[in-house]
């Protein structure tokens, strides 16, 4: 087994920056109790202003007036970590996120699918850069060694035991993941790197540093296998963006919406699934939340397409109150079946399959706006058709008008000419009883109409259809 260790040194900051509208402006993460606020992390622009992590907030404010301050939200960091684990899951089935700011990924089994390590590493780095996370990656035969080596290296790839021993030997003691007091006492003994530590007699070393440090050393060399808790992607996708300003127009929601949908697409690609229905929840400072439900007829995972549908639903929305946060919740994640396309497709450039067109129409016109038509075996004209369900019923070989009125209306015309009829339609005693004599009539204007009179009456005709 070969383990890739991905260290995310600025996980909290990157997670905030990638959702921030202006990541180029000075920004600092703030932590600590309210009496003593300190900067947890700063971005490059803030660093150029002289801010640095660990600085008290008051000092920072005297140095720079206008930097954005974001509180460290440990729950948000955990969610980002989970999201990245779900992303890593597409490259290997054994993913562990148990160590802080770190992803451990077993990659040897994935080489057949993704190609040798340099190619896979390039993909991982490309994806992480796209997602906006700074990272360091090291490959090693065991996860603990990879985790220790990534403290000092980036891009190192070791697949054999002998080079691993050598690389570990040159690793400084304080980067090896040993407890802090052990590092200090080893330093006082004059041991700066791991090489002389490994050379010490084991029993004597165990007496000096304790059993737990000895175990950590064994883990590094691979002598002790400690199982890792593996990550299982959740069956629902939830992401949330909180705004530090009030959003009052639905247009301003589109940028965060695109972020959320991109994350959803990454997550869906990781589990090779699609989404059939998802919910956009707009949270207001006061009042109940606004839910925008986006349903699709088939599972999809193309981010551009999902974004377009969501936008179609969001744009006509009039916001009654300003929005303070937006949440995307997807609970129905069925398997994704890609549509088969013809290799020699000669359709024009902007061609769009019918399914996609139908979704686009439904997104703007409403869920029930697009439907098919089918025949139902019933004599009553009102009930002789139905929406969508394809049946095997064959049409009656009788003259029927092409257009049918939803509700029959009186046909007021004194010069009607009866062309054919009557044809009696009498059915439905069990529900809406119909007893009518239908005629084909021509109006004085030359229109041909399908009209009826109730059986036994000689009143005016009721218009029920047009022979157009």
């Amino acid at each position: 087994m070969l383990w890739a260790c991905i260290l995310l040194p600025q996980l909290a900051l990157d997670g905030v920056l990638r959702r921030h509208a202006a990541p180029d402006q000075p920004l600092a993460l703030i932590s600590g109790p309210s009496q003593r606020r300190v900067l947890h992390a700063v971005n490059e622009a803030a660093e150029a202003e002289g801010l640095h992590a660990g600085q008290p907030l008051t000092t920072a404010q005297t140095l720079c007036h206008h930097f954005a301050k974001v509180d460290v939200d440990s729950a948000a960091v955990e969610r980002t970590h989970d999201f990245l684990a779900a992303w890593a899951y597409r490259y290997g089935s054994l993913v562990s996120r148990s160590l802080p700011s770190t992803l451990l990924l077993e990659v040897e089994a994935s080489f057949k699918l993704f190609g040798p390590w340099p190619r896979l590493e390039a993909r991982l780095r490309h994806d992480l850069s796209e997602l906006g996370f700074r990272h360091r990656i090291v490959l090693a035969p065991n996860p603990w060694a990879a985790r220790a080596l990534v403290n000092r290296h980036d891009g190192l790839a070791i697949s054999q035991d002998a080079p691993l021993q050598q690389a570990l030997g040159q690793l400084p003691v304080d980067a090896s993941g040993l407890p802090l007091d052990v590092c200090e006492s080893l330093g006082r003994m004059g041991l700066r790197t791991l090489q002389p530590v490994f050379a010490l007699p084991r029993a004597a070393l165990g007496k000096r540093v304790g059993a737990s440090a000895l175990q950590q050393l064994d883990r590094l060399t691979g002598a002790l296998a400690t199982p890792l808790p593996y990550f299982q992607p959740a069956d629902v996708f939830e992401a949330r963006i909180e705004f530090n300003y009030d959003v009052t127009s639905s247009q301003a929601l589109l940028f965060p919406l695109r972020r959320l949908i991109d994350d959803l697409a990454v997550y869906l690609a990781g589990r090779d699934g699609g989404v059939q229905q998802f919910l956009l929840r707009l949270e207001h400072d006061r009042g109940p939340v606004t839910d925008v439900r986006i349903g699709l007829l088939a599972a999809e995972r193309e981010p551009a397409m999902l974004f377009e549908f969501a936008r179609g639903r969001l744009e006509p929305l009039t916001l009654t109150a300003s929005v303070s946060a937006m949440q995307l919740i997807a609970t129905e994640l069925p398997p994704f079946v890609p549509a088969a396309r013809d290799l020699f497709d000669t359709r024009p450039q902007q061609a769009m399959p019918w399914q996609q067109l139908r979704e686009r129409l439904r997104a703007r016109l409403g869920d029930d706006a697009v439907h098919g038509l089918a025949i139902r075996a019933d004599h009553r004209p009102e009930r002789s058709w139905q929406i969508d369900v394809q049946t095997k019923s064959s049409p009656l070989p009788l003259p029927r008008p092409g257009w049918l009125l939803k509700q029959p209306i009186p046909l007021r015309d004194h010069r009607l000419r009866v062309l054919a009829g009557p044809e009696r339609i009498e059915s439905g005693w069990w529900e809406a009883d119909v007893r009518r004599d239908y005629y084909v009539v021509e109006t004085s204007m030359g229109q041909r109409a399908w009209a009826y009179r109730p059986v036994g009456e000689l009143g005016e005709f009721m218009l029920h259809g047009w022979f157009a």
């Binding site: 061609a351 706006a369 098919g372 139905q386 049409p395 029927r400 049918l404 204007m445 229109q447 157009a468």
Partner: protein, 211 residues
């Protein structure tokens, strides 16, 4: 005036050239009516273009005119091709068994219900998508610019577009490639514009519409 020659015998002996044009190539979109095809310069509906039918009132005969074309288009594709015939905002319910009797495959038929302000948008989307064999729309307010958009969309999507409009619009110019007015008294078709030739001078009686 040496001799009087009967016109018939001259024509029969084929010694007089009458300036008749070559037989035209048959259109890929025939209307299904030989008499109407003969009147149109392309020998059928203009391909990848918008055609306008101008109707003075309901129940005049637009479906009789279109059904043969729709029936041919719906039966043309094999089972895998999924080109639909889309009706956008039809004024009434299409009576399923009448459409089926006319030969239109109902599984290819799709109906889009749209508010008047969305009809043009939906039509443009359908025409542009190339997922439809024919798009029929009933726009209530359609000006010159809107129809030009539809015409461009039909060209882009290589799709037959039909716009059913009120006959009052016949007086206004339109970018549609073909415009046909249906009159009631007498019942006739008048082609008032056709791209690629002069419109025929004689109206076509509706009774001539036999297949």
């Amino acid at each position: 005036m040496a001799s009087v020659v009967a016109l018939e015998s001259l024509l029969d002996s084929r010694r007089v050239w009458r300036g008749q044009p070559q037989a035209r190539p048959t259109s890929r979109q025939p209307t299904g009516f030989a008499a109407l095809d003969a009147q149109l310069p392309s020998g059928g509906w203009p391909e990848s273009a918008l055609s306008e039918l101008l109707l003075p009132m309901d129940g005049i005969g637009e479906l009789r005119l279109l059904w043969p074309t729709l029936a041919r288009l719906s039966q043309a594709g094999d089972a895998t091709s999924d080109e639909k015939i889309v009706l956008i905002a039809p004024p009434y319910l299409p009576f399923a068994s009448a459409w089926a009797n006319a030969g239109v495959r109902l599984d290819k038929l799709q109906i889009v219900l749209a508010q008047p302000r969305d009809v043009l948008w939906a039509t443009e989307q359908c025409l542009r998508s190339a997922a439809c064999a024919a798009v029929l729309c009933w726009p209530l307010q359609a000006d010159d610019r809107a129809l030009r958009r539809l015409q461009v969309a039909a060209e882009t999507g290589q799709c037959l577009g039909f716009a059913m409009r009120d006959a009052k619009a016949a007086a206004n110019p339109s970018p549609a490639a073909l415009r046909i007015v249906i009159d009631t008294a007498p019942a006739q078709l008048r082609v008032i514009k056709c791209r690629g030739g002069n419109p025929p001078t004689q109206p076509l009686p509706l009774s001539a519409l036999t297949r």
